[in-house]
């Protein structure tokens, strides 16, 4: 269920981004409300990461506006309400996981007593207890991702922006992350997630937006999109039709057939 809130927390109006002669995002309009879990679905190079970086105030749109809770995305007030987790998250290798979270607490100016309670909760949620006091340089990819998620949520953001969140995670880590997304959305956080995995979008998202060559080609709930799919009513068929025509052809050995 999407919370009924008329004021959009994330608001993109006519956003275009051009790299050299390449139009990466093309007149994008998007609203994201409190409690909504939105999945940006698109092939590689579709403009998902660029859009996400504009939402976080890192990249400036060539034209159009990006606002977070009514203020420009590049303002400090907007950044105070956002948590951003990139596909290759940054961690200070020579800090322990706990020290990294502490650093984030200080950078957001969170009350220290409140932060201590919140940190303990997050360590438990993400099951970090066994390695939180070891240096980040010793962590595996999954461990790093979990620490980054914990650090991103410590300031209780209103908007959670995540780029390809489940890449390289083991099944348990992936389950934790997916549950956290759902729990954040149900508690009123607007979650914007980019993915190129259809199954993730189908499983988690309240709303799915299919983006291709910088344009938002379709937007709606899973059922609404399925209704637009030809024949099979599968999201995959709709995605393939919108983003590249028919099913891609792969040469097969003579006489063999793909089931």
């Amino acid at each position: 269920m999407i919370a009924q809130n008329p004021a959009a927390l994330v608001e993109l109006r006519g956003v275009t981004k051009v790299y050299g002669s390449r139009r990466v995002v093309d007149h994008l309009d998007l609203d994201l409300h409190a409690g909504e879990l939105f999945a940006f679905l698109g092939p590689n190079g579709a403009g998902k990461t660029t859009t996400i970086k504009m939402v976080c105030g890192l990249l400036h749109p060539t034209s159009g506006t990006v606002r977070i809770a009514g203020v420009p995305a590049t303002s400090a007030a907007a950044r105070a309400r956002i948590a951003y987790i990139p596909d290759q998250p940054y961690l200070y290798n020579k800090l322990t996981g706990r020290e990294f979270i502490r650093f984030v607490v200080e950078m957001y100016g969170i009350d220290r007593r409140r932060a201590a309670t919140r940190t303990a909760e997050l360590i438990e949620t993400f099951e970090l207890g066994s390695y939180i006091d070891e240096l980040c340089e010793t962590y595996s990819h999954g461990m790093r991702q979990r620490v980054v998620f914990a650090a991103a949520l410590v300031h209780e953001p209103d908007v959670l922006v995540v780029d390809e969140p489940l890449v390289g995670l083991d099944p348990r880590s992936a389950r934790i992350v997916k549950d956290v997304f759902l729990s954040q959305a149900r508690s009123g956080v607007a979650v914007l997630m980019s993915t190129h995995l259809l199954a993730i979008a189908e499983e988690l998202a309240d709303t799915i937006g299919i983006i291709h060559q910088g344009r938002l080609l379709a937007r709606g709930s899973l059922d609404e999109l399925r209704a637009r799919a030809p024949d099979s009513g599968s999201l995959e068929d709709l995605f393939l039709r919108l983003t590249g025509g028919d099913r891609p052809t792969v040469p097969l050995p003579e006489g063999s057939v793909l089931s």
């Binding site: 105030g57 890192l58 990249l59 809770a69 007030a77 105070a80 800090l95 200080e106 950078m107």
Partner: protein
Amino acid sequence: MSVAGPPRQRVIWALRWLRWRQGFHHAADLLEGSWLRVALVIGLSALFWGLLYTLFRDGFRFIDSILPSTNEIIEYLFGLFFLSLLVMLSVSTGILVYASLFQGDEAEYLLTLPVSEDRIFAHLFRDALVFASWGLFLLGSPMLVAYGMVARAGGTYFLLVLPYMTAFVVLAGSLGAVASLLVARYAPRQTRAILGGLLALAILAGLVYAVRLMGTPGQPLSLEWLDTLLDRLSASQSPALPSRWLARGLVAAARGEPDQALYDFAILAAHAAAAYLLAAWLSRGWLRTGWSRSRSASSARRRHGLYALDSAFHFLFGFLPRPTRLLILKDLRSFRRDPAQWSQFLIFFGLLGLYFLNMQRFHAGESVWPAFWKHVIGFLNLSVAALILSTFTTRFVFPMLSLEGRNLWILGLLPMSRRTILWGKYLFAAGLSLVATLMLVILSDLLFLMPPGVILLHSLALTVLCSGLAAISVGMGALLPDLRQDDPSKIAAGLGGTLNLVLSLIYIACVITLLAVPAPWYLPDLDPSLDRPPSPPLPGGLCLALVLLVSLALGALATWLPLRSGIRAFESRDF
């Protein structure tokens, strides 16, 4: 949650705490990992400092024996030295600031936090400044301490040296930072062109200056010649230059004139503070915009060409097997597409070229120098070429295998032996080094009208040096790779790189000593203008044959041993 930003003091404290904790863990790792490594680094640094101090002290004593060391000429020389440092520091800090603010992962992360842009700038600027200037402190401190000792300077001088140098470094770095903010804000697509233009400008200015200085009329080292020379350098003594304030202030402090010294320090410090404030103020408005623009520029897809160069490479190195050539070509392409790499390469060989061009001065004053000195300078040339070459192999060849990093498994899975991969890298490094240095040494020998036998001897010695130095770097690079680091300068500055440099220096010392010490006995056989020693222990021909034999054996050993160790380590490595 509250949308108010974090208190400024808390952010400042957090950023300082961050670096402190990182430093603490780094130091703990170092101490836990290897005492030998720490001891080696401290010991070598102390040794280097001591050697430099002795060198500068003796130099200043020599000058002091001719004229007072607080003379205007010293001020003049200091002004010239600090002006070149000002330019180098501004450029290097500017490049580092640009890389860290607009290309670094930490800046991207910090820009997503609710922290003001000038605070992020201050945090990363400090790192860049330390990284760019530690060499200056290592090189400059023994010089300034030696000067103070020889000039019998008082306490004011020694108290002021560090604040003076700090203000100077901050001023130079801030100017570089302003330039890098300007580039990111207004010309993020032209970074390569700007870097190339700056380099071309510096080389041009250097050449113009060098030609003017080399054309100074009069008998070299005569008073008239010195006067004209200083006159030609007068542009470097403009009272508007910070290098001039530093030079004048330090000499005034050494002379025991604290008022003048403090006055110049105040000017320097005020300008440093103003330049830093300007950079920080610009970063408020430009850091985020510049970041966005530079990232947008770097995301524009580029097609790379220059395949004619690749064809030329295949033609020139046709004697190597094709897979080996392709591997080398991969390194060559990465090298030429990274401006930080090839610009340093140009600086290395540009300096070497300038040095050899300067040799003309000795040639012009041939009548001043006895024939014996011609050969001393010949050996000096050989040593300088080898020393620069050892820096080159440590900086560029040693990190080659480490730079494969996480992709090392690709090399491991290739359908060719690992021995062949290393031999290919060695042949490439040795060949490139030889082509670059041999031309310069032969050119300077021809300028000195050296006899053919001596030119041949120098060429042979250089071949032995190039082979050994390339093998040491390839072998050590395979033996002590740093696969986690992707910055070649940091790989070269690590333990493996340091050991590589030390071994290279020892090797150079051995080869040059072997050639130079018995030179008086065998050189008259190659150059009839030299006097024969009254009672040589060996006939000249036999001595020369022995020297050649031992040099070749030493070169073969220095090539074979490191390569064998490197190949063994590389073959036993798990990917």
